[in-house]
């Protein structure tokens, strides 16, 4: 909402600099988003009368005009197409200053060889309106020599206000003036609604019938006759421009002016175009149509409230008028509508039809039913003054069910409890009265809310009013005690944090990706129909650039991230994301939301360094090592078994299992899948659920460490090629029981030295005991036993051993 301070000062007698007023409004809930200094002081511009127009000897398009400025005649050169003898316009004397000169002064000049002693100005040049097509045409009653700044002040300060949805009353000059009055104590001066009536009674000229009282609780109207359509006065045009509206003609401008002034939307009908001069407020019938003022033909249905005459809809109630009852240059008899509509009905219709207007944005938030007759009267008064119209006697006001004023009880103690203040009852009553809320004092304050404050319904609403006018800055600050035992991170939250930390420590950077994907991603990834990843939840109204379904895997997002990076020259990728995937449930139920971590590796492992001869690329075991570090940090035992996925390379993918339950998958991305995302080279992708890992995590336990060194032995075992390394290692660990402190696989060999179909696995073993008394002999005895068992159990053959 743009508020011209020049205009505002008509309604409230405040006196303070604009900056201070802006702070006051901002700190009481009417945020001043911008303060715009508009226009410039106009000096030396007066009303001038064109006495004579002559051709310019050297230019076809220019004329020479003799202008009388109330004092003497000036000969000037003028190119305006609308120049004529007898015209009154804005004449700038040499030395004048106005908006279009941006700080300079007008100089005398020779134009195509003819001296020009001043100039005639357009509205745009003076900063009055945006019309630059010709010079200003001033009305009859403006004597030459009158200072233009007396007719239309051009210097102004505009506040761009942010009006919150609960304060439709502030979408008007009067509403803002009321706020200023409440904040400063300045006197409020409402505009005059007095009508100088004459002629036939309005009720004889027009008739109003409300068929849908719910949609339209009140319809007030005034009838004007003898209207002469023409431009509105300059001061009004300038104010409308300042408010962000375009001046059109006096009747339309006046309805807009009153809309901004009172916040009461109006509509002017050409009474002669209304069948039987009758207004019927009703729901539209199916199949009815209307062409609205924006030129769009609209099909109506029985949900839409319309203003109709006896034959057809002539306006979308509260939203927009229709073309064929519009006021035109020929109109002389006018019906001014000033109604009150049900906010919900307007909200729904404007949403359904996709039209918003200055009217609908006010009605849908709630207008003041008591302001309806004021709006009609105010517009009639102005049309009488400015458009030559006669106000028919009496007002039309259909208002069968009067709105009962709202009363609210306020407990002063409760107000202090909520606000943290120690205000007295009198202080509170004073603030409320300043807001035109009537107060009856007692143990509770019994208040009656003015009709323009729709938002005040409950005690808490009054407490808010008291708080904002009192000033939030005056409320003393305190710190609450906090949640005590419940405060701080839970163990699970800390563990999730350590997953992030472990990934970061291993050189992976975190990415944040939209939670959407395309349904077609699932086809690209060749996800079979029975896989839960197919349970993608469609969004009804998606954005095309983000994808139409909720993601069921992080993979597409990570691949697109990789693609964007490789396209930008970042070819070495080590990234992770922790976020949710969504699996749909039955219709009507919320989906399952599962937090997962996705990892993607490609290109050179770690940092390239001058001291390393060749920088190696990431491979499967980098990915697995990262996963293993996470499970080590969490203290979870995760096993890996071959597991095929259509999007992973065959023979290079594994499932991650905790106690037999699969919690994730790792593997090399299938090269064809990489290709279908525009990527080439090897990509390694892993995805696991954080929940089961955190769930399985156990706190570390203390094991005594012996004072003597452990006994260290390396052994190499020859086993069948097909036997998984993990089986051998698990068997070793099982057999080792207490004394085998650690067993680490350090070499895998196949070749000349061992028979075909076999492989050699080398392990570094450490034996030790907590009391530190383990002897070499005991350790080697234990090793002999273990080797024997390995030979018997797995058909392993000892290839060699080295005591260290």
């Amino acid at each position: 909402m743009r508020v011209s301070l020049e205009w505002l000062s008509d309604y409230v007698e405040y006196s303070m600099p604009p900056g201070k007023l802006a702070d006051l409004l901002s700190l009481s809930g009417t945020a001043v988003d911008r303060v715009i200094e508009m226009g410039a002081e106009t000096t030396g511009v007066v009303v001038g009368e064109v006495l004579e127009v002559k051709d310019h000897p050297n230019a076809d398009k220019l004329k020479i005009a003799v202008v009388y400025d109330g004092f003497e005649n000036h000969e000037i050169v003028c190119g305006a197409p609308n120049l004529f003898v007898g015209m009154k316009s804005a004449f700038a004397r040499v030395g004048a200053s106005f908006s279009g000169l941006s700080g300079g002064k007008l100089k005398g000049a020779k134009i195509r060889g003819i001296a020009s002693d001043g100039m005639l100005c357009s509205g745009a040049e003076l900063g009055i309106n945006d019309d630059a097509s010709g010079i200003l045409e001033l009305g009859e009653g403006t004597p030459p020599g009158t200072n233009l700044s007396d007719i239309a002040p051009t210097r102004d300060v505009i506040f761009d206000l942010e009006i919150t949805p609960n304060r439709p009353d502030c979408m008007s000059m009067l509403g803002v003036a009321r706020e200023v009055a409440a904040l400063t104590g300045a006197r409020l001066v409402p505009p005059s609604y007095e009508c100088n009536e004459s002629g036939s009674p309005a009720g004889d000229l027009a008739k109003v019938i409300i068929e849908d009282l719910e949609g339209c609780p009140r319809y007030s109207a005034r009838v004007m006759t003898g209207i002469e359509i023409g431009p509105s006065p300059l001061w009004m045009q300038r104010r409308l421009v300042a408010a962000g509206l375009r001046p059109i003609n006096n009747v339309v401008d006046i309805t807009n002016y009153v809309l901004i002034e009172l916040g009461q939307p109006l509509h002017a009908f050409d009474l002669d175009l209304l069948a039987e001069n009758t207004i019927v407020v009703r729901k539209a019938d199916f199949g009815e149509q209307i062409t609205t003022l924006d030129g769009v033909e609209r099909q109506l249905d029985d949900k839409t409230l319309v203003i109709a005459d006896r034959k057809r809809p002539v306006a979308l109630a509260g939203i927009m008028g229709g073309e064929d009852s519009e006021v035109s240059g020929d109109s002389t008899r006018i019906l001014i509508e000033s109604a009150h509509f049900d906010p919900t009905s307007i909200y729904l219709t404007s949403k359904r039809l996709g039209i918003r207007s200055e009217s609908s944005s006010r009605f849908e938030r709630g207008s003041d039913p008591e302001a309806a007759p004021h709006g009609a009267a105010r517009a009639a008064r102005l049309m009488n003054q400015l458009a030559g119209g006669t106000i028919s006697r009496g007002e039309i006001d259909v208002y069968p069910r009067r709105t009962v004023p709202v009363t609210i009880d306020l407990r002063p103690s409760r107000a202090n409890e909520i606000l943290g203040t120690r205000m007295t009852t009198d202080e509170m009553a004073g603030i409320l009265e300043g807001l035109e809320i009537a107060v009856e004092k007692g143990e509770k304050l019994r208040t009656t809310v003015p009709s323009f404050r729709w938002d005040l319904e409950r005690e808490i609403d009054l407490i808010e009013e008291i708080g904002r006018i009192y000033g939030l800055d005056k409320i003393e600050e305190a710190i609450p005690v906090g949640g005590g035992l419940n405060a701080g991170l839970t163990r699970k939250q800390k563990l999730i944090g350590s997953i992030d930390d472990t990934l970061l420590a291993q050189g992976l950077s975190e990415v944040v990706v939209y939670s959407f994907m395309n349904e077609s991603d699932l086809d690209l990834l060749r996800i079979p129909s029975y896989n839960p990843m197919r349970r993608a939840l469609p969004v009804i109204n998606p954005l095309t650039e983000t994808g139409g379904v909720m993601r069921t895997t992080l993979l597409p997002g990570m691949l697109n991230t990789a693609l964007r990076n490789t396209n930008r020259g970042n070819r070495d990728i080590a990234i992770f994301e922790r976020g949710r995937v969504f699996l749909s449930n039955d219709p009507g139920e919320l989906p399952e939301e599962i937090e997962v971590v996705g990892i993607l590796l490609a290109g050179v492992r770690g940092l390239k360094n001058w001291s390393v001869e060749t920088n190696e690329n990431y491979d499967f075991f980098d990915l697995k090592g990262i996963m293993e570090n996470i499970s080590d940090v969490l203290g979870v035992s995760v096993s890996y078994k071959p597991e095929d996925r259509a999007y992973l390379a065959p023979g290079r993918s594994a499932g991650m299992f905790i106690d037999g339950d699969m919690v994730g998958v790792i593997g090399q991305l299938h090269p064809e899948i990489a290709g279908s995302y525009g990527l080439d080279g090897e990509y390694y992708f892993g995805e696991f659920m954080t929940g089961p890992l955190v769930e399985a995590s156990r706190e570390n336990t203390y094991k005594k460490v012996g004072r003597f060194p452990n006994v260290k032995v390396d052994i190499a075992l020859i086993v069948e090629e097909t036997l998984p390394a993990s089986t051998v290692l698990e068997k070793l660990t099982d057999l080792g029981a207490e004394l085998l402190v650690s067993a680490r696989l350090f070499d895998v060999y196949q070749g000349n030295q061992i028979p075909g179909g076999k492989k050699s696995l080398a392990f570094a073993l450490e034996f030790g005991s907590a009391d530190g008394t383990l002897t070499d002999e005991q350790a080697h005895g234990e090793l002999e036993r273990i080797i024997k068992e390995m030979e018997n159990g797995l058909g392993a053959e000892l290839r060699g051993r080295i005591n260290l």
Partner: protein, 360 residues
Amino acid sequence: MAEKERLDELTGTREDLASIKNEAFSTVESCRTQEDIEAARVKLLGKKGLITGIFKSISGAEAEEKPVIGEIGNLLRELINEGLQAKSETMAEEALVASLAENEVDVTLPGRKTALGHKHLISQVIDEIVSIFLGLGYRIETGPEVELDYYNFEALNTPVYHPARSLQDTFYIQREDPEHDNSNDILLRTHTSPVQVRVMEASSPPLYVISPGKAYRRDEIDATHAAMFFQVEGFAVDKGLNMGHLKGTLEVFVRKLFGKDRKVRFRPHFFPFTEPSAEVDVSCFACDSAGCSVCKGSGWLEILGCGMIDPNVLKYVGYDPDEFTGFAFGMGAERVAMMRYGIEDLRVLTENDLRFLRQF
């Protein structure tokens, strides 16, 4: 050097022994390598060595000469041993210095670093915000991102047809009637506030909760709009909480986040689920409130929305608003990141260009 003087005195009358002495000392002096030292030791102190010869000559000497020769031999042996020892140590030291000099490294070469990952800027901002509230006695709670209309709007005192809804362009998953809102509709939450309702339903006061998470709005994506963003929601419900507690809490928070010297102001505002409501501004840290392009000349930057939890919201979850009061606040993590680092285009946050990620 008493031994040396005594030796010179004793050998003063014995030219033969004096020449042995001189030869011995010059042999020691001439050693250049460890091998020289060993050879000198053999030549002087070995079985057939010069000094050994001196001791051997005692038996054939005059009786009064015997003690003198013996003393000369002992002194010589002692001094030779000392001399060779010193020579050896000096050489070892010189050798070490020489070898170190030879193996000098260019200390300006880059170190051998382990690759470290970078946490996403948004996560870092959220961590920082959350940690401030953990310090104030809050706990973290989260809620679903795909949410029922009931939790996203209705239980937050935003009834059907409320104009506040038109401000929120919502992604829908399921909608009974595309023209009407319904509390069973399923949508992507437009803010993190539904967590308030869920936590209040599931537990009882005192509650001091901070809830970071994703929220979604159907905005066309551009420099200042994203369809997905991160909010941090916080709320407290307890006996006797008032606006003063809200102000105190957020003042501490804002100054911890943006610096002790920052000023904080509360502007009354409107949110459906809080009343009284306010927006919180921090004095512009780019210009210290003088007015600049960052704060668009106002001297203030808006960073938070907050208010006392509306009694209707408390009633929805079965709390007695006369017994418990509470406050709630929420902020956008992106906005904090953008203001702090002068990022003009939101989209860099979801593009995940590694050159961007590695800056933080």
